[in-house]
Amino acid sequence: MRHRDEHPIVRWLAAEARADDEHAERALAALFACLPRPRPAAAFADRVVARWLEARPGWLPLTAEQRRALPWVAATAVLAVLAVTLRLPALAAGAGVLSPGALLAALTTFFVTIAELLPEVALLGRLLVELQRASLLLIGSPPVLLTVALASFATACGYRWLRHHLAPSRTRYEAQIS
């Protein structure tokens, strides 16, 4: 039977037996100080950070390669829109090609004609025709198209951001650590 008086384990057991909490806690802390803390494998921190960089959710759920390409795609898209809105109609008209504006005007005329061929309608019918014409002309203009496209894009991104940050946590540990 091992019972060396000055052995740290015996000192602790003695304090416990005496119900001497203060000495018992100190003695037990000294015993635990001898326990080696486990060490993860080499480069553990690097692996964790690498996994984190791959997995972390951004405001857009893209891979790392897609995130790197995003500025270039955005710049290309902006340039394309600018080219379309500023230069293409003039070039198309100069080359004799039917411009988007002309196509839109033809469509509008078509719908107006159809509306006028309808059996006699009340004032509502006329108002609808006028509204249709104004809407097509307005929507067909490049600045409005650009604005609608940008607004849609911003809305989609905003929705995803809100959904990610405001959605209620479902798992037990997420609710508990917040």
Partner: protein
């Protein structure tokens, strides 16, 4: 001068990869220690430790700098390990179950066999082996609470936050864990000498 935990967290939130790396290096061993006491397998403990850090990074914006970062990480580690144990074997988790025998595969595998050399390193090695072997007899929850209190130095309130228990329950569990550890050491042959003050024990 060492960077404080709050500063590291702030730098990490700004996107500094080095700050993330430093956070992991600073807390990998304490976190793994707590997880290992719960799950008992070093390889699994390392996986769960990695998962703990990833969860912590995901929710780093919710960290309150008024709290100790270590306590916050221990809480995530505790929940991660408990979730894993519940998925694997539900009956391991409860501290109140009647069966006192822990499952065989829940014992940690750290301690080397004790030596009898008189130098300090050997004494520490012997102590560690004896404590490890006795800790292995305890339930995972009792092992964890002893490590949080006596190895990581958490207060009763901090332990209550980590384990989501009332402070009174923490004190009761800590008391029982100490008694069980003492009983396990006595079963391994450690006993008070005859005539020890206040002792009712005697060598056979």
């Amino acid at each position: 001068m060492a960077t404080s935990d709050a500063e590291l967290v702030a730098r990490a939130l700004e996107g500094s990869q080095e700050a993330y790396r430093l956070l992991v290096r600073r807390f990998e061993r304490p976190v793994m220690s707590v997880v290992l006491r719960l799950v008992g397998e070093p390889a699994l403990a390392e996986d769960l430790t990695q998962e703990t850090f990833l969860k912590a990074f995901r929710h780093l914006r919710r960290y309150d700098p008024r709290r100790k970062l270590a306590s916050w990480l221990f809480k995530i580690a505790h929940n991660t390990a408990i979730d894993h144990l519940r998925r694997r074997r539900p009956e391991l988790v409860s501290l109140e179950r009647g069966d006192d025998d822990p499952p065989p595969d829940s014992r940690p595998q750290l301690a080397a066999p004790a030596t009898q050399a008189p130098d300090l390193a050997a004494i520490r090695g012997e102590l560690a082996a004896e404590i490890e072997a006795s800790l292995a007899e305890l339930r995972p929850g009792y092992r964890e609470i002893l490590v949080l209190r006596f190895q990581e130095g958490l207060s009763y309130q901090e332990i209550a936050d980590v384990m989501e228990l009332p402070m009174g329950t923490v004190k009761v569990h800590l008391h029982r864990a100490r008694k069980q550890l003492a009983a396990a050491l006595e079963a391994r042959g450690w006993a008070l000498p005859d005539g020890a003050a206040g002792s009712t024990k005697h060598a056979p």
